[in-house]
């Protein structure tokens, strides 16, 4: 599996220096609203002990959840969707490329297996089956202390 490149300056800026137009990992909670508009979904928010969970529900049953830490930053995004979400928008432009492993040599039979990329500054799960794609991405150093981000759905 291809690993993420180290977080050099340019990609760090792209990852954490969010634009106003979209919520990406590390961006301010205000940008969750932008995602709700972009997905044209309904949002429900829950305040939990260490975080706020925003769930965006779509007419076809798909859901996108964004988790905001006590500092008001989006530290995790989880999705369960019919189609594959545009990760460049959802996570940040560098992530969609970096999150991918290398399918060549595996053929289509190997292309459907779930994938995980785990780096110091980013974890991305991708998997699921056709019409029920699933994924989770989070920034470890933004995760509330003591919380197991891998348990998020």
């Amino acid at each position: 599996m291809r690993m993420l490149r180290p977080c050099v300056l340019a990609s760090c800026v792209a990852l954490f220096g969010a634009t106003e137009a979209q919520a990406v990992l590390g961006a301010h909670a205000d940008t969750v609203q932008a995602d709700q508009v972009r997905f044209q979904g309904v949002r429900a928010s829950r305040v939990l002990p260490q975080m706020t969970a925003h769930e965006i529900s779509l007419p076809d049953g798909s859901t996108v959840k964004e988790y905001v830490n006590a500092s008001g930053l989006v530290f995790a995004v989880a999705w369960r969707t019919r189609l594959k979400p545009d990760l460049a928008n959802l996570l940040g432009s560098t992530v969609s490329v970096a999150a991918a492993g290398d399918p060549r040599g595996a053929g289509v039979a190997g292309s459907k297996a779930p994938r995980l990329v785990r780096q110091a500054n980013l974890v991305v799960h991708q998997g699921g089956r056709m019409n029920a794609f699933a994924g989770l991405a989070y920034v470890p150093n933004l995760v509330p202390e003591g919380f197991d981000a891998d348990s998020l759905r």
């Binding site: 599996m1 291809r2 995602d35 972009r38 997905f39 044209q40 529900s57 007419p59 076809d60 049953g61 798909s62 859901t63 996108v64 369960r80 969707t81 019919r82 189609l83 594959k84 979400p85 545009d86 990760l87 460049a88 928008n89 959802l90 969609s96 490329v97 999150a99 991918a100 492993g101 290398d102 399918p103 060549r104 040599g105 595996a106 053929g107 289509v108 039979a109 190997g110 292309s111 459907k112 297996a113 779930p114 994938r115 995980l116 990329v117 785990r118 799960h125 991708q126 998997g127 699921g128 089956r129 056709m130 019409n131 029920a132 794609f133 699933a134 989770l136 891998d150 759905r153």
Partner: protein, 460 residues
């Protein structure tokens, strides 16, 4: 391409001895060991059931043009014809996938046919032009791109007439360039800059994909409305051969790429159409696999004498609520570990589940897949007892064996009942891939079709 794909022709290690561990806790119950010897590649065949609604499934090294050898990849032969004509081609090594929906064949394989393009009318409200429907169909990683056409599809004694199929672009010149959004949907370029789009028999390891999963068509509401906001575009309408002129398309469910099975009409006039599901029956395998495994694909469930649900079969219904997190999944439990996102899929080439207690440090990217296989140390295979369950109280106990992938791939075998891996997922999914299918008959119902118990479910 890794050298691990080279095939020595003879396989080391023939004699396996099974020790049953009495009183083991936690659901894992025994070990298997093997010692040296040389055996040639074997062919293992199951030739039942027969009948006009059955055809052969073969698990081998893949199409001739793919020289590295596919692993645990099932294939069937499909005949594709121009609608209502005798102008046909027969295509071997079409990947048999119960995890996707629709027939997709390399465009070059049907170049001798005049298949009519599937065209969409101009849409004044959406301001989209008239043109050909072109699809980007992404898997977890990798994807295919190409136009839709109508074709007659023949398998066994079954015919689907003038259904939409996808023609996977593989001809290079004169075809639409793949949109950037489709490349992104398929996971983006590789580290070496290669496209993630399967655009040849070699990259696909097949001449096409036959998706006979639980749905009748391959997208649904989002594609019907054409509102892909936040997602990658699946269907485009392209007025010409310029990708920049393609626009996101609204395409009705019956024009989307169709699961051929729901359209099958039996040539022999069987009173009931064999259009509600399938059964895949594959032979049990030797411990070190087989060079070639041959089994059967049966169309229909309970529609004629040879496809009744076996009395002892377990039915597992997948979650049918689209708003549920576990939509299309059932639950697997091993010991105290739960995998609530479990599914059965002939198109995944192993058991894929995370079990940190199974050694994973294989010596190479064996099998051409970029890591992730399980390699229990030395000659000891790991056994696990899994409980599969659904929300309706149906349960089944299944014992699985995970052997050392380095050893499995060191010989000339292509089919393995004990191949497993984990590409690092820790999030409770269990893909019951082709390893599970050997020595079983696996039923896949199609949602919305007439069945004694409504789908979607699997049985085995």
């Amino acid at each position: 391409m890794p050298t691990a794909c080279a095939r020595p022709g003879l396989l080391l290690a023939a004699l396996w001895v099974l020790f049953v561990c009495v009183g083991c806790g936690g659901g894992s119950s025994s070990v298997t060991t093997y010692s040296g010897g040389l055996i040639p590649a074997t062919t293992v065949s199951l030739d039942m059931p027969t009948g006009a609604n059955t055809t052969e499934v073969i698990v081998d090294g893949g199409p001739a043009s793919f020289s590295f050898g596919a692993m645990n990849t099932p294939y069937v032969t499909v005949t594709v014809c121009a609608p209502n004509s005798s102008s046909c081609v027969t295509i071997d090594h079409v990947f048999l996938d119960t995890g996707s929906y629709g027939l997709r064949v390399l465009k070059s394989r049907v170049s001798s046919l005049s298949l009519p393009a599937l065209t969409l009318a101009a849409d004044a409200q959406r301001q989209t032009p008239a043109g050909t429907a072109v699809e980007c169909y992404p898997f977890v990683l990798g994807g295919v791109w190409g136009p839709l056409a109508r074709a007659d599809v023949h398998m066994a004694g079954e015919t689907a007439t003038a259904i939409p199929i996808q023609l996977i672009d593989d001809t290079g010149s004169g075809q639409l360039a793949v949109p950037a959004d489709c490349i992104a949907a398929a996971g983006g370029p590789s580290s070496s800059g290669q496209s993630p789009i399967f655009d040849s028999a070699a990259s696909l390891q097949a001449n096409g994909i036959l998706g006979i999963g639980m749905m009748g068509f391959d997208c649904g509401l989002t594609c019907s409305t054409g509102n892909y906001a936040g997602f990658h575009i699946q269907y485009y309408v392209c007025p010409d051969q310029v990708t920049a002129n393609c626009q996101a398309a609204a395409i009705a469910s019956d024009q989307q790429t169709q699961n051929p099975v729901v359209h099958f009409v039996p040539d022999d006039g069987n009173p009931q159409p064999d259009n509600n599901g399938t059964i895949i029956s594959l032979p049990a395998l030797p411990t070190l696999g087989a060079g070639v495994a041959r089994g059967r694909l049966v169309f229909g469930i309970g529609t004629r004498g040879n496809n009744q649900i076996a009395p002892g079969a377990t039915m597992l219904r997948v979650d049918a609520n689209p708003a549920s997190p576990a939509y299309l999944y059932f639950t697997t439990t091993i010991g105290t570990t739960s995998y609530p996102y479990s599914y059965i899929d002939s198109g995944s080439n192993a058991y894929f589940f995370n079990d940190a207690s199974i050694r994973q440090s294989c010596s190479s990217s064996a099998g051409g897949q970029s890591g992730g296989w399980y390699c229990p140390s030395g000659t000891v295979a790991v056994l696990r007892r899994a409980s599969l369950s659904d929300a309706f109280g149906n349960t089944a106990s299944v014992d699985i064996s995970i052997a050392n992938a380095d050893l499995l791939f060191s010989g000339s075998s292509s089919a393995f009942a004990n191949l497993g891996g984990s590409l690092g997922q820790t999030w409770q999914s269990f893909a019951w891939g082709l390893s599970f299918f050997f020595g079983r008959s696996v039923y896949t119902s199609i949602w919305g079709q007439a069945l004694s118990t409504n789908g979607p479910w699997n049985a085995f």
